[in-house]
Structure formats: structure tokens, C-alpha cells
């Protein structure tokens, strides 16, 4: 076998040594996009709305509704819709601005740019995690136990995870729509669909069985939280695969889509609300 290297190949090898690893560049871009997302006025508005709802409900003494109403039950109104909108606008920014030549002449490919856009949603997820954590601490204390009319309910970690997961799902869905269309109205319509009935009434957040009578109401859905979480992860994975498929047709993306779809179907089938708490 010949090991001769042509001049261009030699130059390529030499220059490649100076290029930073791809994951470093991907995360650098994701960080920039993520910080832009958090600083976006619409996202901040959604965040403020979520905090406001939380404070209102907590102030009324309905602590579990505080968690659910402010951060969970209508996350679409509070944060989800805005996260979708901002992520969508960021993802189609280059086509909206007709800046394909700017971006196209850069070494970072569209595939990597899409991956960075998807990773940037982690910043919104972290912001929501922070909000949920603070809310849980304020309302339930370090032991995570809620008291209402002499009854107690210990929050489960999986219950707390659902809010941030929903935000991640909304954000990745935004990237998916933004990568496939340059139309601003698609972003606005998508956000409205998320925040308006009937979508907003879907049981995005559920609680496990055993919520005492005093806590429970028609507002709360009870289901297998574990399966519900798997369903949310599945939905987000489907959105990730759909966004990546715009510029990446490798089998691994199709596999990711199938895995996500399987998790979503299983999660929805097995994590559907079982109706009012039997207690």
C-alpha cells in the first residue's frame, strides 16, 4: 500500500492540527446562543410571568398550586411558548437575515450550527431548573414536604423535573420549526398553539398518586410520573432528530428519531393521567 501524501493533503494535515476540537466550537456557539436566549426580552417576559404566577399562588397558600401554576401547570404560558418563539427565531435567523453567505463561508457547518442551537436550549432548561429549585425550597423547604390543612405531601424529584423538561421540549421544537422554515409567522403561530387551549390543557405536568385530598383538585393530573418523564424526553428527542434532519441525513439521526418516537409513545401510553387521585 502506498503511503505517499500529496501536497494539498500535507497542508491539510498541518492546518488541521491548529483547528480546535469540534465539540469545543460547538459548545462555544451553544453558549453564545444560550446566553442570547436568556437575555432575549421575550424569554425574560416569560420567565417573569412564571415567577409572578408562582408568587401569586404561593401567597394564596395553595403551595402545590404554586409549584404547579407558576412553573408547571401552564408552563406554556409562562415559559414554554416564549422559549419556543425565541429558539425558533434564533434558529432561522441566518435565513431571515439572508446571511447564508456569511455563515456559509465559515468553517462551521450547518449541521454543527444546528447542534449548537439545540444545545443552547439547555440554558433555558437550566434557568427553569433554577426557578423550580428556588420555588421548591421556598414552598417545601429542604425536606421537600408540603403542608396544607394539616396534611402533608412529599414532593418527588421526578415531579420537579417535568417543568424544565417541558421547557427543553418547547425549545427544541422551536429549533425544529426554525430550521425548516424562515417564516416569522411560523414561530408566532407555533408559540400561540403552545400557550392556547387545547394544547396548554394537555397534561404536560402530572403528580404521582398519594396527593392528599386537601391538595388535590381538578387542576392536578395524576399519573405514573416516571413514564411521563420518559414521554417528555421522547418528545424532545423527536424534535432534536427532526431539527438535525434538516442538514444531517445520516442513519444515526433516523435512529435518534425512532428512539425518541418510541419513548414518546411509551411515555404517553403509560404515563397518561389516571384521573383524580383515588385518595
Amino acid at each position: 500500500m502506498s503511503t505517499t501524501t500529496t501536497a494539498p493533503q500535507r497542508e491539510l494535515v498541518i492546518a488541521s492540527r491548529t483547528a480546535p476540537p469540534l465539540h469545543t466550537v460547538r459548545w462555544a456557539l451553544a453558549g453564545t446562543e444560550g446566553r442570547r436566549l436568556l437575555r432575549h426580552p421575550l424569554f425574560m417576559l416569560g420567565f417573569a410571568f412564571a415567577v409572578f404566577g408562582l408568587v401569586l399562588d404561593a401567597d394564596s397558600g395553595e403551595s402545590i398550586f404554586g409549584l404547579a401554576g407558576g412553573a408547571y401547570l401552564f408552563p406554556g404560558v409562562g415559559l414554554g411558548g416564549m422559549t419556543f418563539l425565541v429558539a425558533c427565531l434564533a434558529a432561522n435567523r441566518e435565513r431571515r437575515d439572508s446571511a447564508q453567505d456569511f455563515y456559509g463561508a465559515a468553517p462551521l457547518s450547518e449541521r454543527v450550527r444546528t447542534e449548537a442551537a439545540l444545545l443552547s436550549i439547555a440554558w433555558a432548561g437550566l434557568a427553569c431548573t433554577g426557578l423550580t429549585g428556588v420555588a421548591a425550597l421556598v414552598l417545601a423547604g429542604f425536606d421537600g414536604v408540603l403542608f396544607f390543612d394539616g396534611e402533608r405531601y412529599a414532593l418527588r424529584p421526578l415531579e420537579l423535573v417535568q417543568g424544565p423538561l417541558y421547557i427543553v421540549f418547547a425549545g427544541t421544537l422551536g429549533v425544529l420549526v426554525g430550521r425548516w422554515t424562515r417564516r416569522t409567522y411560523a414561530a408566532v403561530i407555533g408559540a400561540l398553539v403552545l400557550v392556547l387551549p387545547p394544547v396548554v390543557w394537555l397534561p404536560w405536568i402530572v403528580f404521582g398518586d398519594g396527593v392528599p385530598e386537601g391538595f388535590s383538585s381538578d387542576w392536578l393530573d395524576h399519573a405514573s410520573v416516571g413514564w411521563h418523564v420518559i414521554g417528555l424526553i421522547g418528545l424532545a428527542t423527536v424534535a432534536v432528530a427532526g431539527a438535525r434532519a434538516r442538514h444531517d441525513r445520516r442513519p444515526r439521526v433516523a435512529l435518534l428519531f425512532l428512539v425518541g418516537l418510541g419513548a414518546a409513545v411509551a411515555g404517553i401510553a403509560l404515563g397518561l393521567p389516571t384521573g383524580p387521585d383515588p385518595l
Binding site: 501536497a7 497542508e11 491539510l12 492546518a15 446571511a99 468553517p107 462551521l108
Partner: protein, 288 residues
């Protein structure tokens, strides 16, 4: 391998050839591309900037093949490109925009990247407006922001598509100074322009494009030489001239075959250019 080499390069849109079998080698220094609208300049620039694939022919940039994905990425690492119509995100500040492009150019170390962004903005004279949103700055400043991003990382190949459009005379002077400094021993600078003055001031070599072909390839002096003994001044319009226009002194400057006894004047690059691409272009005037 610091050059651009193209052989029988062609880019077609349907039945029309925007670039029709171009064969050129461009080395270090500043090379100007002149030509009327639709001559194929921007198409050629976009192919050299690796954002457009040729329909056929061979293109090598810095010794690398842009058709190969890995080599194309490598070219892009050494490329600075100012598109003809830069699309900005208007909510970005000048600094944020250039910084964003710097990340796309794989500059990951934040401190070093910010230093480089500031350097590029200073180079184009925008250091003091770095924090202003792009939507709030003038068209000329936006053009300079676009130029700043092209200069990031001191690229080996600089492709500037109509960089001096929208610049006022003072900015244009500064731009010429900057670009002439950039065209060093190793760097290839390819400038597309409508401004013949830019070519005269900047370029060691000029290529005039017409209908997707190179109608002229030579030095600026050779281009003005195309019109030697073919430019004359008269008090009134001479219908025998191929092209004419009225000067600010009220005289008529004519380009073409002068009549006997005409008052010949020293031709400019513009005269040579007009003879080449004007309505009655002179094919035998093409310099090799």
C-alpha cells in the same frame, strides 16, 4: 500553494452561463475584478468563497479542492469573505456580530477572540461604535462591520465583493489604505468593484469580466493603455465616437476611433474599461 487556480470554470443557471469557462491563476497581492452588472463577478466571488459550487471545471484554492468537504473546511479556515449583500442581524451590536462570526471561524478562546474582534473593528475604524446596535448605524458603517468580520484571523485568502459601495469618500480612502496594506507577500486579496478608481489605487492586477468571460487580464496601466490614442476632447459631441460624456468643464470626452486632428488626451482606467465593456466593445484591444 498560495494561489487561486481555475480551469474552464463554469457556473450555469439553466441555459445561461454566469461564468463561462474561465481559466485563471491568481497569486498573492490585490487583484481587482471589474465588470458591468451581470458579468459574472459575484458568481465567481461566491465560488471562490466556497459558498457556490461550480457547474463544471476545476477550481483550486490555496492548493486545496473546495469540492472535497474536508479541504473545503480547511479553505474556509483561511478565508475572509465579504459578500456583496451582507445580511446582518440588526439586533446584534457591531461587536456581537463580529464576535459571532469569530465563533463560526472556530475561535473558541473567549479572551483571545474578543481581542481579535476588537482588533478587526479598530482596523476598519469602528472601535468606538462597537457597542452600537447594527440597526442604529449607517450603511457605510455596516459595510465596515462586514469588512471587519472578513479580516478576522488574518485570512490568507480575502474575497471582497464590492467592499467600497456605500462608503463615503473619506471612508473609501481609508479602505484603500487598509486593503493595500493587506495585500502582502502571502495573502491573496480578490476585490470585486464597480469603482475604477479603486482598481487604480489598490490593485496590482485587474481582470475585466464580460458575459462570464475574462475580457481583459493585466495591470491597471495596461488597462488604461487599451484606450491609448482613442480618447479625445471636443467642444461638441462627435457622433463617430463609440462612447462620450460631458465633462464638468462643459467639454465632451469621447472614446473610440478619433477623427483626424482630434485633441487626444491621456486615457484613464475607466476609458480602457469602457472600451472593453461599452456598447461597442473592442475585442482586439484585449490584452493577453
Amino acid at each position: 500553494m498560495s494561489h487561486i487556480a481555475m480551469s474552464d470554470l463554469r457556473k450555469s443557471y439553466g441555459a445561461r452561463d454566469a461564468v463561462a469557462g474561465l481559466s485563471l491563476t491568481i497569486g498573492p497581492g490585490v487583484t481587482g475584478l471589474l465588470g458591468p452588472n451581470g458579468a459574472g463577478k459575484t458568481t465567481l466571488m461566491r465560488m471562490v468563497a466556497t459558498v457556490l459550487a461550480p457547474t463544471s471545471g476545476d477550481l483550486r484554492l490555496l492548493g486545496l479542492d473546495p469540492a472535497d468537504r474536508e479541504q473545503r473546511t480547511e479553505i474556509r479556515r483561511r478565508l475572509g469573505y465579504l459578500p456583496q449583500e451582507p445580511g446582518f442581524h440588526r439586533h446584534f451590536t457591531a461587536f456581537e456580530f463580529v464576535d459571532y462570526v469569530a465563533i463560526l471561524k472556530e475561535m473558541t478562546d473567549t479572551r483571545a477572540r474578543h481581542r481579535e474582534v476588537r482588533r478587526a473593528l479598530e482596523l476598519v475604524g469602528l472601535g468606538d461604535v462597537a457597542g452600537k446596535r447594527i440597526r442604529k448605524i449607517s450603511g457605510g458603517m455596516r459595510k465596515r462591520v462586514a469588512l471587519a468580520q472578513a479580516l478576522l484571523g488574518e485570512p490568507q485568502l480575502l474575497v471582497l465583493d464590492e467592499p467600497s459601495a456605500a462608503l463615503d469618500p473619506e471612508q473609501r480612502l481609508r479602505f484603500r489604505e487598509l486593503v493595500s496594506e493587506l495585500g502582502g507577500d502571502e495573502r491573496i486579496v480578490l476585490v470585486s468593484t464597480h469603482q475604477t478608481e479603486d482598481v487604480a489605487a489598490l490593485c496590482q492586477r485587474v481582470i475585466v469580466m464580460r458575459d462570464g468571460h475574462a475580457a481583459f487580464d493585466g495591470t491597471p496601466a495596461q488597462l488604461s493603455g487599451v484606450a491609448d490614442n482613442r480618447v479625445w476632447i471636443a467642444g461638441s459631441r462627435d457622433p463617430r465616437a463609440r462612447l462620450w460624456w460631458r465633462t464638468s468643464e462643459g467639454l465632451h470626452r469621447h472614446v473610440g476611433d478619433p477623427p483626424a486632428g482630434a485633441q487626444l488626451v491621456k486615457p484613464t482606467i475607466e476609458d480602457g474599461y469602457l472600451l472593453l465593456v461599452g456598447p461597442a466593445a473592442v475585442p482586439d484591444a484585449v490584452a493577453a
